[in-house]
């Protein structure tokens, strides 16, 4: 076996082997690989913990997976989400419209800020779960109460992010718009809102996450419906794998929705980030 003579005279150069080729291919997808490994590791730990078992009420990963597949196929998830998503979608839609609108107004006007900011700062700090019985007291146990629970959790963070984003819009771009004789409407729509949109969207993502918390709280605390009902019911009859499958499903739905929102933001509002 002879090596080609190299200019630097290195005799330790080894021709690329099959193994290093595979390794190179793998390292191209390194991030995806690490993520999969991380999730896999988590499931493994879960499986081991379930088999020890750490609690009789703690199912293994595989049992949960089986329950998850069964519940997906027999339609119980579909029926549950049809109910759970109603207050969530209505609540998030209302929070997004009011929250972004109010946030922008508060960012532009010191008076609106003075009027509304303290309310939302207090609301954001308040433990909302404690207020849910109060909503039930006033609005009963129907859709209105659950929608209100979503709004109460989602709205403050959306408003506060929107307001901070607009208040901190790049002053140099605002001056640029002014120097080219843009009017106040152009200043808001062409400069301030696009400039603030990443932070506004961060607020929306946080609001959506809070909305998921709100709807689950409402379904557990007000009346068991939808996914909250699945969790409550399977706990009461000690079907722990089904109960965990319901919990996992809500985490999954919430994560996927947030990822979709992020993808939408990149696509529509910030074309320059998509390209890079």
């Amino acid at each position: 076996m002879s090596f080609p003579v190299q200019a630097n005279g290195s005799s330790r150069a080894v021709p690329p082997s099959e193994a290093s080729f595979v390794w190179r291919k793998l390292s191209e997808h390194r991030t995806a690989l690490w993520r999969t490994a991380s999730i896999g590791l988590f499931f493994l730990v879960w499986e081991i913990a379930g088999r020890i078992p750490i609690s009789f009420a703690f199912p293994t990963f595989l049992e949960t997976l089986r329950a998850f597949v069964t519940m997906t196929l027999d339609g119980s998830f579909v029926a549950a989400y049809a109910e759970t998503l109603q207050p969530l979608v209505i609540g998030i839609a209302i929070s997004a419209v009011i929250g972004i609108g109010l946030g922008i107004v508060m960012g532009l006007s010191r008076f609106a800020e003075w009027l509304a900011a303290p309310v939302f700062i207090v609301l954001q700090a308040a433990p909302m779960a404690a207020l849910i019985p109060l909503i039930t007291f006033v609005y009963g146990i129907g859709l209105v109460s659950k929608t209100l629970a979503v709004i109460m959790l989602a709205l403050p963070v959306i408003v506060l992010n929107g307001y901070k984003a607009v208040r901190n819009a790049n002053p140099s771009l605002v001056a640029m718009c002014y120097s080219f004789q843009g009017n106040w409407w152009q200043r808001i729509t062409k400069i301030i809102i696009p400039d603030a949109s990443p932070v506004i969207f961060a607020g929306l993502r946080l609001g959506l996450a809070a909305g998921f918390i709100g709807v689950i709280l409402a379904e557990l605390l007000i009346t068991p419906t939808g996914i909250g009902d699945l969790i409550t019911y399977h706990r009461s009859v000690a079907d722990y794998p089904e109960m965990y499958a319901a919990v996992v499903s809500i985490i999954l739905v919430s994560t996927l929705t947030l990822a979709a929102l992020e993808a939408f933001e990149l696509r529509v509002l910030r074309p320059e980030k998509r390209k890079s």
């Binding site: 140099s172 771009l173 001056a175 640029m176 718009c177 002014y178 120097s179 080219f180 004789q181 843009g182 152009q186 062409k190 400069i191 696009p194 400039d195 509002l269 910030r270 074309p271 320059e272 390209k275 890079s276």
Partner: protein
């Protein structure tokens, strides 16, 4: 080189025979208790490049922004083509030190932004933007985003945007300070060509003496705060020579040296 400070004191430095594009009369500016500018009287000749030079904090950028109408003067007035300035106007265009490009917009949209704000149709403004993108040497970069460009190229976008609105007076606030040295030299040479070609009035703020002498028809030197006019110099350098010849020219070097001697005592 011609030092016309003496006349400046009496006749507000009115250049003989030349039209005046911008007149500054008795401008004072107070920031709360701090006096930034005191009694500035100045004429900017039309079609020339005038530089405002001075130690940092002398108020040269403040003066430029007052001329632009971006900030109000405490007292005094600015007239552009005979009309008193009350805010930004179509006859003036500003080039920003930090470029002020919209990161979410392409080069094409950024250059056409002044026209977009005026409500011009898309095709029309893209045609104009295209022309100025070519003029500043950015052809082929129309669909790039600012973060994909170097500092020098970004400022070329800023310059093209100012050209595109077809203002008579271009106000440049330290346009090259965020551009690296080698790109700056090339950019200065290109700017001189554009000054020649566009026949506009340029007011240019810089803290670089070499840049001021190299580019300017006239240099206004401000004193340290409160800013007053310390000296007005016309370099009178033969611009027909090549850029490299100018940089070796004895008159150029002498002017740089004289300005440095005048400014040295402000530096601590």
């Amino acid at each position: 080189m011609r030092n016309i400070t003496a006349q400046a004191a009496t006749a507000a430095a009115r250049p003989a025979g030349a039209d005046v594009a911008v007149e500054v009369r008795g401008i004072c500016k107070m920031y709360n208790e701090i006096e930034a500018l005191r009694g500035i009287d100045l004429d900017f000749p039309a079609g020339k490049l005038t530089t405002l030079l001075g130690p940092s904090g002398c108020g040269k950028t403040t003066l430029l922004k007052i001329v632009a109408g971006l900030i109000p003067a405490t007292s005094g007035e600015v007239r552009v083509n005979g009309n008193t300035v009350t805010g930004p106007g179509p006859e003036r265009a500003f080039v920003f030190q930090d470029f002020a490009l919209m990161p979410w917009a392409t080069v094409m949209r950024n250059v056409g932004f002044g026209l977009e704000l005026k409500g011009m149709g898309k095709n029309e403004r893209q045609a104009i933007a295209q022309k100025y993108i070519a003029e500043v040497g950015l052809s082929g970069f129309e669909n790039k985003y600012p973060h994909e460009l170097s500092g020098g190229m970004r400022q070329r976008v800023g310059l093209a945007r100012a050209f595109a609105v077809n203002a008579d007076v271009l106000l440049l606030d330290e346009p090259f300070s965020a551009v690296d040295e080698q790109n700056r030299r090339k950019f200065q040479e290109d700017l001189l060509e554009l000054v020649e070609k566009e026949k506009k009035t340029f007011i240019f703020v810089t803290h670089s003496i070499e840049e001021a002498v190299y580019c300017s028809d006239r240099i206004v030197i401000l004193s340290r705060r409160p800013g007053r006019i310390a000296q007005i110099i016309e370099p009178e350098i033969d611009r027909s020579a090549s850029p490299d010849a100018i940089r070796r020219d004895q008159g150029y070097l002498d002017t740089v040296e004289e300005i440095w001697q005048g400014l040295k005592h402000y530096v601590d």
